[in-house]
Amino acid sequence: MIVIDDQGRIETFSRSAERLFGYRAHEILGQNVSVLMPEPHRSNHDSFLRAYQTTGQARIIGIGREVVAMRRDGTLFPAELAVGKVAGSVPARFVGFVHDITVRKAADEALRRERDRAQLYLDLAEVMLLALDAAGRISLINRKGCEILGYTEPELIGRDWFEQCVPQSQRAAGRASLRAALAGEADPASYAEDGVLTSKGDIKLIAWRTTPVSDELGRLVGVLRSGEDVTDRRRAEQELQKSESLLKVAQAIANLGTYEVHTPDGPSHWSEQVYRIVGRDPAEGPVPPGDFAQQFVHADDRAQYIREFQRAIHETGRLDLEYRLVRRDGTTRHVHSLAQMQTSADGQSLIITGTIHDITDRRLVDEETRQGQERLTHVARLSIMGEMATGLAHEINQPLTAIATYAQAALRMAAAGAEVAEITDALTQITAQALRAGEVIRRLRAFVKNRAARTESVDLNRLIEDLRLLAEPDARVNDMRLTLDLAAAVPTVAADPIQIQQVLLNLVRNAIDATLEAPTAPREILVRTRVGPEAVEVEVVDRGSGVDPAIAEHLFNPFFTTKAAGTGLGLAISRSIIRAHRGKLGHRPTPGGGTTFYFTLPPLPGG
Amino acid sequence: MGRAPALRVRLMSACPVDTPPGAARLVCVVDADPEVRRKVQTLLTALGAETRGYATAREFLATLATEVPVCVVADARLPDLSGLELLEQVRARGLKIPTILLSTDAEITAAVTAMRAGAIDFIEKPYIDRALVTHVAPILGLDDRHC
């Protein structure tokens, strides 16, 4: 206890104060009480005192407060200070009781630290911790809980859990399970997944474990629940399931099966689609890899299958093979197999992972497309022959006329008793003319015959010279001249000669039509071969009407035609023929008027 | 004589015809197809002709005793006679009437035979308008330029 006067001077310094501060009473009496305080309290004290003296307002009187005091040796200690005014004292005197609270402080601190640590544990826990009282009010919730629910702690403590955080539809069930827990009917550590309602209105799926909490008397007063947010995990699981079923559907749609086989006799897995493709009941399980070739691979493809498989295992590590499977019911499927070979981690077995793709339908479509294309090409060939029919009829009619005339002349000469030598001459001519007509017909038949495409090594110059027999009559009946300008030493090309003739006839036909459209144009069509650095080029040059720029871009479109009788297929098919030969078909203006159509063909290596 | 001179023809409007008064303007059309008769007669009327149509050669030949047309337009294949036979029957009556034969799917030989027998033209249907104008207008005493 310390008593001070109105100036702050110490008047009384008790024995306990002597012990507390380390001063003897006679040493301190009369000194200002502020010596017992460290700065800044010391200066503040003076101002408090002065303020009290002028205003009568006491800052600290009657209020116990924690202060820091300073011993004689300068050490500081926490103290609780209670100040009172000595009743009736004039001038005023104040009495202060000072308690050293160092020990209490330490205990408090320890407790606080303990609590903080517990809170830290609660907060560090990656699960939601939630305590509910018997009424279902939230008595505790940790940071994770707040985070999941999207509230701050004060927003939750004391609120009804079910009202605040449980979706409407699950509230009744929630309360019932709380009642059951409080009645001791629930499994002490029951597990349940329930939805919670967040502040944003989302539903999160929480996996709860619930433990009843009892007071010191053993009465159940609430529950402690730990909850784990499994929303993402469940979603991932669902997605995985979904993608697995998607994969299954995808395999079914693509008719693609996947498998993993461990050889020589490890586990094998076939996807459902593999069973479907090979026509085996999934209940029977996979066939051992060693038996697959024998059981399923088409006899004609088996040797190659085994050879390729061995090569994949021993050399390349990869299999990429098309072959035929024969199902138990005898039907044949075309499949494409891709596989990767890997040695297992223990080096004991070989793991073959692969796909089997059923390409039967594609094969059929390819085949139909190819046949359709061939039919179309053939129709176009017939069509162009139709367009050239006048010229060709003339070309056959001329030798027929000569034959008839020679024959009739010979008859007359014979009747008139002419020399055999004279008649023989007529007969020789008849033979030559019959052969001439026959040659036209032979070419014509070769040209219009419906045949599969085939590639031969072709001498383009010769092909063009042969073609002249078919193309020239058409020019002639239209009063035009067909001229050839063939480069020397044109390399051999790999081509289907009939298809190339078809392209050429098309181009000559078009050139004739273009020339007809320009009545004053030179009536001359030139077919020229040129040898470029990378390709042989064939040009068909006309001096006709030229290509209208407005239609140039449609020129190669199927069914585009400017001719009354045209099918519009000629150029489209010509282009696809040349493309199939890895060449290019195009056109450019002829210098001085008209159009030059050209196509290129790559020469045979070493040709 | 050009085969197909460029004519300025306005078929639907009757030409201002100044045919000499009293000049014969009768043109007979012999064709089994009433539609062809109608079409040809309309055209000839527009050219200023007086026309009569007959479905058969006999009907037409029967009228020759009473009146002789300045021109005959006849199908090359009539139900009773061929156009060529009609031509010959007219000749047999000592008459030389300019005759135009009309034909579908004609053979060259038929056309040439008709021409040799004296037909002045042999026209493939349906391209008959211009040829009719070419031949009939001068016969009616019309200059091409009038039409």
Binding site: Q398, T401, A402, R412, A418, A426, D479 | I108, M115
Partner: protein, 205 residues
């Protein structure tokens, strides 16, 4: 002037057809000359030479129909037999309208062609005979005096001497003398013959 015999001129661009025709026509004793193109024939054409033309329609350069047109333009009277491998009706009709003797399709029966050629040669003979007669008449007419021409015109119009005398304002006797001179110069044995000659002379070939 030594006249060549009537010749069959063959124009066809096809060697074999040309040669076979030559052989055929020679076998029936007809003189033949062949040409590979219309232009070649036209270059060698001599209007004075008797004969006929066997002509292919469709040829490179000048076509058969074009040659016919060119010959018509120069009033050539040579009869034409067309031969063609692929003619059509309008083409045939045009050829006939322009005076062709016939239009034959290849191949043909030799007799048909030979008949047509003979017809054509006959027509050529007639044409030439007619021409010759017309020339003779015209030459005679040129020997008439202007007055005699006047009398000829009026006589052939069917006018009587008395009327002519009135028209020309001369005596009837004078008309009779002129008329006798005309008949004598023209070589006419009767009035009807005189009229026919005048009509013939006025015909345009």
């Amino acid at each position: 002037m030594k006249e060549k015999p009537a010749t069959v001129f063959v124009v066809d661009d096809d060697d074999a057809v040309r040669t076979s025709l030559r052989l055929l026509l020679k076998s029936v004793g007809l003189p033949v000359e062949t040409f590979a193109s219309a232009q070649e024939f036209l270059d060698a054409f001599d209007a004075e030479r008797a004969g006929c033309l066997v002509l292919d329609i469709r040829m490179p350069g000048m076509s058969g129909l074009e040659l016919q047109q060119r010959l018509n333009e120069i009033h050539a009277i040579i009869p034409i037999v067309f031969i063609t491998g692929h003619g059509d009706v309008p083409m045939a009709v045009e050829a006939m309208q322009h005076g062709a003797v016939d239009f034959i399709q290849k191949p043909f029966r030799d007799q048909d062609l030979i008949d047509r050629i003979n017809q054509a040669l006959e027509k050529d003979r007639e044409n030439r005979a007619g021409l010759k007669e017309r020339d003779a008449i015209r030459r005679r007419m040129q020997q008439l005096t202007p007055r005699e021409r006047e009398v000829l015109n009026l006589v052939t119009q069917g006018k009587a001497n008395k009327v002519i005398a009135g028209d020309l304002n001369v005596s009837q006797r004078t008309v009779e003398i002129h008329r006798a001179r005309v008949m004598e110069k023209m070589g006419a044995s009767s009035l009807a013959y005189l009229v026919r000659m005048v009509i013939e002379a006025e015909r345009v070939s």
